[in-house]
């Protein structure tokens, strides 16, 4: 249920900023590791897998919290196209938060790789070992990663537009700081 609040709840803000750091780290680790033969490759990939699963778990939690607590209403004077863009981009971001780890996990499964998180801790395969499936999921993982980064750039630009130019409380709703009326 939507409540009449001007800020996201504390847990939502913590989840947002924590996952922002995790997802950005994940995207930079991803593009870095696929472009190097150096020893950092092994370190990066050993972070990439457990971090991805952690993001998946937090994304499920976050979606639950969002469905339960809702979000503050957008300003009533926000043009309809901007409001629509905001809703659409948030939907895309949630979809990517859930899809990216699942596609990665499925891709490793289809490639016949063990999905090692740490030491002897590993996850079961979620898809059959199949080369065509591996190839399709690999392409999907890459395309979604670039889409994810582009969507995040748009999201950041929009957030800063609200913070610096419209100054309408939308940025503060998530930042939770600098609010004069709290």
């Amino acid at each position: 249920m939507r409540t009449k609040r001007d800020c996201f709840s504390g847990p939502q803000r913590v989840l947002h900023w924590l996952m922002a750091i995790m997802v950005l780290a994940m995207l930079f680790i991803g593009v870095s590791m696929v472009s190097t033969l150096k020893p950092r490759f092994l370190i990066l990939i050993s972070i990439h897998k457990p971090l991805g699963i952690a993001i998946l778990a937090l994304a499920v939690l976050r979606l639950g919290v969002r469905l339960r607590l809702g979000a503050p209403a957008l300003p009533s004077d926000l043009p309809r196209t901007q409001a629509l863009a905001a809703k659409l981009s948030h939907f895309v971001l949630y979809a990517l938060l859930l899809a990216m780890p699942l596609v990665g996990w499925g891709m490793l499964s289809a490639g016949g790789y063990p999905v090692v998180l740490y030491g002897s801790l590993h996850l079961p395969a979620i898809l059959p070992h199949d080369d065509q499936l591996h190839a399709t999921l690999l392409t999907t993982h890459m395309v979604l990663a670039y889409m994810f980064f582009a969507t995040i750039l748009l999201h950041v630009a929009a957030a800063l537009f609200h913070a610096l130019i419209r100054r309408d409380g939308v940025f503060r709703a998530m930042a939770g700081i600098g609010s004069r009326d709290q």
Partner: protein, 366 residues
């Protein structure tokens, strides 16, 4: 309550303030995109990427589409690894505990052309995937040379480029390899082996060496620097290199099929323990021959299968896929192998149309 609802909205920005703030926003977005591009290597065209490495490996003649980009010609096998438990003192790896563990493996020759004649197989290889009951995996790709030809990925790239097919001759420029070895003294032990080791007509009579160093981790968490070798039960039968020319292009496969029709083939997995000062990060250097060696188990190869439909076809024998109790060393080749094998795997799984499975009238693939 938001500010406009409180009637405390900030005073409007001047047009120049709007412009400068838009510039700031644009700057943040641009700088982020630039950082992403930098990390991804798009701003460093000289970076040795997996893509460049694998492209070099693909340029050594023949049509490698659908195939591994190195060790491109090979055959699958299945069998079992029986650990005798002797390694449990040094590693908590579950497949080193006394017992029997299934193996899917592959014999190959180190060529870039999947249709190469076996006479090109100076370097022969064995890859294994040993699986423990709790699903942990130990994958290893081993060569029959006692040392590797280079110590780092950059040198391997240059060596691979030296084997490019020269369009003028339709084969590699022999001068390029000579120039490489003249400028890379580290390669001397490998080159000496390649020029003096006897040739045989079999995968079965070769020892296969991990080349890279790894670390065994014991129950107390202590680390032991090791290399390992699969030592054959069959003793080698040397033949003159010239004699191989009359044997047809696939004599290794024929030999393996014939031997396995007569019974299984075995290798002993021998683990060599380093002494202080033995190099962990240089696969071109052998360790002294008096190092402690422990026989930790027996690999029994029972069945060979053509790769096109075989169980090794869609496996990536990445040597960094290791169980708990075995870890990589600081050898820079290991990360490079992992990254390049993954790229090769990514390419070939997307190229199945170029390497079709055998048609099966009913039931699909096993």
């Amino acid at each position: 309550m938001s500010k406009e609802e409180n009637g405390t909205r900030d005073p409007p920005l001047s047009p120049s303030a709007v412009t400068s703030r838009l510039v700031i926003i644009g700057g943040v977005v641009f700088a982020s995109a630039l950082a992403f591009a930098y990390v991804g290597g798009w701003l460093s065209p000289d970076r040795l990427t997996p893509t460049r490495m694998v492209a070099a490996l693909s340029d050594r003649g023949g049509n490698p589409l659908g195939h591994r980009r190195n060790h491109s010609k090979g055959i699958c096998f299945t069998g079992v690894f029986e650990a005798n438990g002797a390694a449990s003192k040094y590693s908590i790896a579950p497949m080193l505990v006394s017992g029997s563990y299934p193996v899917v493996g592959r014999f190959a020759i180190a060529v870039g052309n999947p249709d190469a004649s076996d006479i090109m197989g100076r370097v022969k290889s064995m890859a294994v995937r040993i699986v423990s009951p709790n699903g942990q995996e130990w994958r290893s790709g081993m060569n029959n040379s006692p040392v590797f030809v280079v110590s780092n990925p950059r040198d391997f790239y240059e060596l691979t480029r030296a084997q490019d097919i020269d369009p003028a001759f339709g084969k590699p420029d022999p001068g390029a390899i000579k120039r490489f070895s003249a400028t890379h003294p580290d390669s001397a032990p490998f080159i000496e082996w390649s020029q003096t080791a006897s040739w045989t007509t079999s995968w079965a009579d070769q020892a296969y060496n991990s080349l890279n160093a790894f670390r065994f981790i014991d129950a107390a968490g202590a680390s032991h620097l090791v290399r390992w070798s699969m030592e054959p039960a069959v003793s080698p039968t040397p033949v003159p290199h010239e004699a191989l020319a009359s044997m047809g292009p696939d004599f290794l496969e024929h030999d393996l099929v014939r031997r396995l029709s007569e019974g299984p083939l075995t290798w002993h997995l021998m683990v060599t323990f380093a002494e202080p000062g033995d190099p962990s990060n240089d696969a071109t250097k052998a360790w002294p021959s008096d190092r402690k060696r422990v026989d930790v188990g027996t690999l029994t190869v029972r069945k060979g299968e053509a790769e096109a439909d075989g169980p090794c076809r869609d496996l990536n024998y990445d040597p960094t896929i290791l169980p708990s109790g075995i870890a990589v060393s600081d050898d820079p080749l290991l990360a490079a192998r992992s990254a390049a094998y993954a790229k090769s795997f990514d390419l070939r799984t997307a190229e199945a149309a170029d390497y079709p499975y055998s048609p099966r009238p009913a039931g699909g693939r096993p």
